[in-house]
């Protein structure tokens, strides 16, 4: 998924915002208002000028996102000299009320301080009180193995005692702790207790167009990668523990890997093709890396040569492919090779390519007389994926406005033709015919065979599934990160269709209803699920029963699902 982030950022650079979530309807026009009052004490004393905020709660995730962007929906008031506050003219509804005090913790020692308040018309919600203390502070410096400060290292912490309230690094106010340009970090909202502090992350940071920052292996205070050796740090409210310095180990030695891409028969170099490497699957454990260093890509020069500069020891796979495979103009396919990086540079790797087969033909829309339907095909894409293999050697093709297509660079095998995996695809493949004969198991491709006369019959994706989910065994759990009931999502997974058709996901509304649109005729498995953080900030998952449903034509198929909130998963 690293590459996903990278490309997503690259695209964000290019487009900033291309298409965004549907506009949210905000229920802020309500004229009925009420009042919220209360008092804030810090270490038992009244504090003047502390700001208390009431943030409307939304069950719809889109509105919730919108709310984050629009401070004007907040209500705010400052405490007086007696520590009392009064929020007036608050539109009726549910609110999360909290003092804005990033450096303070509540009586439980948690930095999360919000209380729920339901405002009804003309009423006053009283005694929404807060008793806070100054948070404990842990500060220190992070250095690399040579003693240089590490800039912008991500800092994580967790209590030694798992029953203690735990705040994960990423929290609802978007705050994370990083070291500054001197390598110094400062965590300042800790409840009393013993903590394990670490620097580094398994994640890469991406800076667009490939400018990524290599993740540092997570290292625990004072300098161990093994969590069991971490030295806990004890802190009390209102105190500061300094000098909690973390030193990273020496970076692993890296080696260069080079080679070339050549035609298997003529041995001519293949220039300007993409070569990628990826680490082969490894056992989990301390050796397992998920730090973005296990894959990379480059392009060959005119002599077909490629070179990767800095690989860690391990087992890898290298592949070559032409960019043309994305669009059907690819001419070849390559045999992937395995290689191992030990304690020296690796050179003279050879990746061999073969002239590929091709499939040309035409896309037709079922029950259509051409015209407008065919124009829509211009944005349609086909994918040929091999059956009976786990390789994701899909080849892609655009469809010309008349419906013609060509998929090139194919290796021998049996391939099914499907539609591209976009929610926006307006068509889905029903069946494929070769010279008038249906190919239910896929098209047989012989080496270098130029297959013509293929007809791909597609249907408009205009079917609909409507559903309702019933909650049993109590109310939905509250998501600690949003203070709202867990947000549920309905998913329709197509059955018996070629790989490439993606799942369709939609949010479930507050009444438990959902509508999944733009489906092609066929069978789907539908269920509803949601992820949330429980009171102790553990990740939890909740899911409904599953139901299989057939859709055809324009009348919606109905599903009825049940979520039993008593069926709990173990903590993650």
């Amino acid at each position: 998924m690293r590459s996903l982030t990278r490309v997503a950022i690259a695209l964000a650079v290019l487009s900033s915002i291309q298409s965004l979530a549907r506009p949210a309807s905000c229920a802020q026009d309500a004229k009925e208002t009420g009042t919220i009052t209360g008092r804030v004490l810090v270490d038992g004393k009244a504090v003047q000028g502390m700001i208390v905020m009431a943030i409307p709660l939304e069950s719809d995730p889109v509105s919730r996102g919108k709310r984050m962007l629009n401070p004007s929906t907040f209500r705010m008031a400052a405490t007086d000299s007696d520590g009392r506050y009064r929020l007036e003219g608050v539109p009726t509804g549910k609110y999360s009320v909290a003092p804005f005090a990033p450096a303070l913790v509540n009586a439980d020692g948690a930095s999360e301080k919000a209380e729920l308040a339901t405002v009804s018309e003309g009423a006053t919600v009283e005694r929404v009180d807060f008793s806070l203390s100054r948070g404990g502070v842990i500060t220190g410096k992070v250095t690399d193995s040579e003693g240089h400060p590490v800039i912008a290292a991500e800092i994580s912490w967790k209590p030694v005692d798992p029953s203690q309230p735990r705040d994960s690094g990423g929290r609802s106010d978007g705050r994370m702790y990083f070291t500054d340009d001197r390598g110094i970090y400062r965590i300042f909202d800790l409840g009393p207790g013993r903590y394990i502090i670490s620097a580094g992350t398994s994640r890469d940071h991406h800076f667009g167009m490939g400018l990524r920052r290599t993740g540092k292996v997570q290292t625990y205070y004072p300098g161990f990668t093994d969590e069991a050796k971490a030295k806990p740090v004890e802190v009390a409210t209102g105190t500061e523990v300094s000098g909690v310095d973390i030193k990273f180990g020496a970076p692993d030695k890296r080696f260069a890997v080079s080679g070339r891409v050549i035609d298997a028969e003529t041995r001519t170099p293949i220039a300007n093709t993409i070569v990628g490497y990826s680490a082969r699957e490894r056992e989990s454990g301390p050796d397992k890396r998920d730090d973005g260093e296990d894959s990379g890509a480059t392009t060959t020069n005119e002599r077909g040569e490629f070179r990767f500069e800095a690989l860690l020891p391990g087992n890898y796979k290298a592949e070559a492919d032409s960019i043309g495979r994305l669009t059907g103009v690819g001419a070849f396919y390559a045999d992937p090779i395995d290689f191992e990086v030990g304690s020296a540079n690796v050179d003279k790797l050879e990746i061999k390519t073969h002239l590929g087969a091709s499939i040309t033909g035409v896309v037709v829309v079922e029950h259509s007389k051409g015209g407008a339907a065919l124009d829509n095909l211009a944005s349609f894409r086909l994918v040929a994926s091999y059956t009976g293999t786990d390789d994701e050697d899909d080849s892609w093709s655009n469809v010309a406005s008349g419906g013609s297509f060509r998929i090139g660079g194919l290796k021998p095998g049996k391939a099914k033709i499907g539609s591209g995996p976009y929610a926006a695809q307006k068509f889905s493949v029903l069946r494929t015919e070769r010279n008038g004969v249906e190919q239910p198991d896929g098209i047989d491709i012989q080496p270098n065979e130029q297959i013509t006369g293929v007809r791909v019959i597609v249907a408009r994706a205009n079917c609909v599934i409507r559903g309702h989910v019933t909650i049993q065994g109590g109310p939905l759990p509250i998501d600690r990160s949003t203070r709202d009931p867990v947000a549920l999502e309905a998913v329709a997974r197509p059955l018996n269709v070629p790989r490439g058709d993606s799942y369709k996901r939609v949010p479930v509304d507050a009444n438990g209803d959902f509508v999944i649109e733009n489906l092609t005729p066929g069978d789907y498995e539908v269920d509803v699920a949601g992820n949330y953080l429980n009171e102790s900030f553990y990740k939890k998952h909740i899911a409904s029963t599953k139901q299989t449903v057939s859709v055809a034509g324009e009348s919606p198929a109905q599903v009825a699902l049940v979520v039993d909130v008593r069926a709990k998963e173990p903590d993650k």
Partner: protein, 637 residues
Amino acid sequence: MRRLGLAVVFSTLLVSATEIASLARPDKPGADLRGAQPTPSVQDKIAQSSESIKGRVIGEEGRPVAGVSIMAIPVNIASNRQSMVTTIVSWPVISDADGKFELTGLQAGAYTILARAEGYILSDSDSKQFHRAGESVTLTLVKPGVITGKLTNSLDNPVAGVVVRAIKVREADNKPVRVREQPFSKFANSMNSLLGPFKTDDRGIYRIYGLAPGYYQVAAGGRSWQGFGAYNTGVGPYDGDAPTYYPSSTLPTAGEVAVRAGHEVANIDIRYRDNRGHSVSGTVSGSKGSDQEGISLVLTRATSGVVEKTIAETSASVKEKGFAFDALLDGEYFVTAMVRSGNPLEGAEGYKLSVSPSRRVTVSGADVTGVELVLEPLASIAGRALIEPISAQKAECKATRPARLGEVVISARGEGNEKPEDQSLSLGPMFEDTSPNENGEFTVGFLRPGVHRLDLQLPGDSLYIKTVTLPPLTPDGKPVDAARSGVKLKSGDKVKGLVVTMSEGAAGLRGRVVTGEASKPPTSKMRVHLVPSEPEATEDVLRYVEAEVATNRGFILTNVAPGKYWLIAREISEQEQSESDHKPLAWDAGGRIGLRFEGEATKKVIQLSTCQRVIDLVLSYTPLIRPAETPIKKFAL
């Protein structure tokens, strides 16, 4: 199942951007389907020669810097799909222990180079330069600066959790902030955008690092983004305020902090003052695109062009509810709207930008409503560039490597220097610069209405520009000299047929300026000019060449057409010095008359022949009897 690297690259490209699908879509899809035999793909054919840029990265005192991520971004990225895809799938190279690196697999052409290293930023001069495949470069990294201080409230208590921003208001050389920046420099040079904003800690202390040298204002509270761009700042009670500027100010009295490379400026303490501010709201019309498109609204300060606030929203939302910049302090601003449609990966062909003329608004103690912005499509200039060889095989001409068309960087510059609104919105150099393809064809797109002139950056010193012409207005007329007149563009214009003729055999001139014993040395900066002395060349704008004189009084004039010139030196007026974007004096008829007037007065004529290199020329400077600050345009009429 673990996915393979390449599959990840491919599939994520696909999943992230359905648009990339059309990248290599043949222009006539049917034509490509005829051939049954597999032919090398478009991409495979283009890469006939691949070259590299070798280089070295140095830090302070010339020490090598290892571990720097370096990428080359082709100038033609927006117009060449191949460039776009290759750039996106390429990983950066990393400098070795000696600071050395090699960017391989490059096609002939011009590139900007991005470099990123922990704790460094690329020096200003390196980030603006273009590099050609085959060149060797030295990149200089500088340590960024730091601003730190404490935020307190009116009760003198420290305030925690408030976003503090440093806003660059002038460059280190005292010039206005350059709107033109290196592509993606925001991402390459600062980590702020991804690490989240800088906030005050429990002691009210903030520390903003990674700052490029320059002059900054420091603001606590408020937001620089509204709408979708604001997602990463979190939720705080100060977001809806107007910012408080250091020390405890509104805009007119905001203090400026000078940041030098590698230096920390401490005690920039701010007293928060609950600035409420006012809003600027209005409507946007003229967009024909889909409701799902993104719209950007940019509010810039009228005097300095500094971006004050940006709104990123969907077109649907803005159509329905209009826009409103909230919490603005009193001041003069420009508001501009921009809508993007189509696929940015398709460059000028598939990607359309509509931009509204900028509206000036004055916020003075009250909300401003009813600002109407009308989007207009942008214009483009398409044409062809060619290089004429020289027949005379002079010995001087053999030393230089022949220049290649694809290495010429072409952009268009608006003439409207005096109208700040023309500068209030930069679309980014990715869309502003291009280079000719292998047939010499180029399109400069995304141009706002007005008179534009072609700006060519030539590779090396062997080329000079002979003519820039537009087709004749009448069938039997003469081609129009577009170098003199510029190209007048209305919104949505697609001007075609511009021809740029370059020639090998350029002359060059190096020297230094000395001042006579009698006259005192000039206190201001100077510029030297070559002015054609042949009467028939009076109106040949391309024959006028100018360059700034360095602090050591040296100057270099390159890419000069052979011919007879007056060589003059002029002091640069205060007004000219403060311009961020200097326009050559010869663009203006009055400027040309003035230059000739000075040339005739100084009587320093120099003959430059084909390929000639004059070195160590000493130009003695005697000020003309006129005040230096009088604009030369006064000589017109």
